[in-house]
């Protein structure tokens, strides 16, 4: 299964991706690798991994001068699988995290090599034995410009607010482009069944899960903890657990 998550900043993408990843990893059926393409901090904490800025090191890539190909590629002899085995950060439940690297004062250009390695891993990781989850940066910029295309399904996380609906509609419009993945929604921070229907009506997307507003999520965020460790039996964790199952069933 390969799923990428998008949505407005603050809608809850990282919490959901982190929790789904931990639950998939626990299943033990294949390895679960999470791709974090946000240059702002985010996913590590939600997985229960201490945050770090480190990108995939430049030694993973080599320059390439093939016409029409990216300027860097994984170095000769290093497959996407081997790159993950060597350079992913391993977290609880043996979940794996590959991050694009985090931006500080030294600017984006330091991530140049890492960026191409990252994309190649997303593209070339074999389906057999691997589950891939992507956490895309908030907003509408990245989902369909390269990062999100590895996914079978793009999950838009939507809160019941007008701004969140506007963002989801924009992502939905971009998804009409050729070779875009199937796009569905998850209604997050809902307080009633009406909220779930509202998300469906306002976005025009199929809503595959509704996750209740739950103070435990904010609590976990405050402490920088994974939701699944902080509140393993809470209502939000439970609903994300159902989503984890639904996503797996969507491909099998």
């Amino acid at each position: 299964m390969r799923a990428a998550f998008a949505g407005k900043g603050g809608s809850g993408k990282s919490t959901i991706v982190g929790t789904v990843a931990r639950l998939w990893a626990r299943d033990g059926d294949g390895r679960t690798v999470v791709l974090d393409s946000d240059v702002m901090p985010g996913l590590a904490g939600a997985l229960g991994i201490p945050p770090s800025d480190a990108p995939i090191p430049d030694e993973v890539v080599e320059a390439s001068d093939v016409e029409g190909q990216p300027p860097f590629r994984l170095r000769t002899g290093l497959s996407a699988e081997q790159a993950v085995a060597q350079y992913a950060i391993e977290g609880p439940d043996d979940v794996l995290l590959v991050q694009l690297g985090k931006l500080r004062t030294d600017g984006v250009w330091t991530l140049r090599g890492s960026q191409h390695a990252f994309r190649q891993i997303a593209r070339e990781l074999p389906r057999d034995g691997w589950h891939v989850l992507g956490d895309l940066p908030g907003g509408t910029r990245q989902p369909f410009f390269g990062w999100g295309r590895f996914a079978d399904v793009m999950v838009v996380v939507v809160e019941p607010t007008v701004k969140s609906f506007m963002t989801a509609r924009r992502i939905g419009r971009l998804a009409t482009e050729p070779d875009a993945p199937r796009v569905v929604a998850v209604a997050n921070k809902v307080t009633s069944d009406a909220d779930r229907r509202l998300v469906a009506d306002e976005t025009g997307l199929e809503v595959i899960a509704a996750i209740p507003a739950d103070p435990a999520v904010r609590d976990a965020d405050r402490r920088g903890l994974a939701l699944v460790d902080h509140a393993p039996t809470g209502p939000a964790t439970g609903a994300i657990g159902s989503l984890a199952v639904t996503l797996r069933e969507m491909v099998s």
Binding site: K8, G9, G10, S11, S14, D38, V39, M40, P41, G42, G45, P51, L103, R104, T105, G107, V108, P137, G138, G139, T140, R141, F145, P160, T161, V162, K163, M166, T167, R170, R218, D221, R222, R223, G224
Partner: protein, 247 residues
């Protein structure tokens, strides 16, 4: 004066920009509110309604798709991609587009270049920047007079704010205000003040009024102007007023 607002996505950047722009306009300033975020939402927080907000974004998208004429000057840019908003302010969507013409005043300039070029001391510019710190990594001298960094009491939000403050120092932005947003627990403000010691930290309480306005797609200035969070955000205008009196 040019004020830029940054923070993690969802921290309350846009709400802060919207309330601040409205309040400064009410106090008689000539305000230009700029949506520099590619996921543009500021129109809603200014209280311009979902239809107008979506319309202005679609005008920008048409330009990106090559279906609209380019503006040939900055005033025309502000006019073509904007409109008059409440309290007499002017609002424009100036986010980066994918298919830009280098050197074109309406799309070839990134938000940081536009901020540099906007140089009318009688005017107050409020720029709602892209979530994160991307724009700040590119900003040059004179582009931003005051940086407002919005932070929630969560580890991730604090981390993003710290990165923004490092950049503000590196880029020589001298006036920096930290807005500690969505304070819930008794010691939230004290904790954030410890994390941001040496900085000017203004607290804004967690407030259902903001959540209600967000749900409805309205400006909390219109729906709950005297609620605790809106009052605190309006109070930011006092701080900024101390920095530079209205001309």
């Amino acid at each position: 004066m040019k004020i830029a607002v940054v923070g993690k996505g969802g921290s309350g950047k846009t709400t802060t920009s919207g309330v601040l722009a409205r309040e400064l306009a009410r106090r008689g300033r000539e305000v230009v509110a700029l949506d520099c975020d590619t996921n543009a939402n500021l129109g809603l927080s200014l209280g311009m309604g979902v239809e107008t907000a979506e319309h202005l974004v679609s005008v920008r998208e048409q330009l990106d798709a090559g279906e609209a004429d380019h503006a040939t000057s900055i005033p025309e840019l502000l006019d073509r991609f904007g409109r008059e908003g409440p309290d007499g302010l002017h609002f424009a969507v100036v986010a980066r587009i994918e298919h830009s013409d280098p050197g074109c005043p309406c799309c070839g300039m990134s938000p940081h270049e536009l901020l540099e070029a906007l140089d009318d001391p009688g005017r107050t510019v409020i720029a709602d920047l892209e979530a994160g710190i991307g724009t700040l990594t590119r900003v040059g001298p004179g582009a931003i007079d005051v940086l407002v960094v919005v932070v929630e009491p969560t580890e991730k939000s604090i981390d993003v704010a710290q990165r923004a403050l490092e950049l503000a120092d590196e880029r020589g932005i001298h006036e920096v205000l930290v807005v500690a947003n969505r304070l819930e627990l008794d010691d939230d403000l004290a904790n954030l003040r410890t994390r941001f010691e040496d900085r000017d930290v203004v607290g804004v309480p967690d407030d259902a009024a903001i959540a209600r306005a967000d749900r409805a797609g309205e400006s909390p200035m219109d729906t709950d102007p005297d609620s605790p969070a809106v009052t605190a955000l309006r109070g930011l205008a006092d701080r900024l007023g101390q920095l530079q009196p209205v001309a």
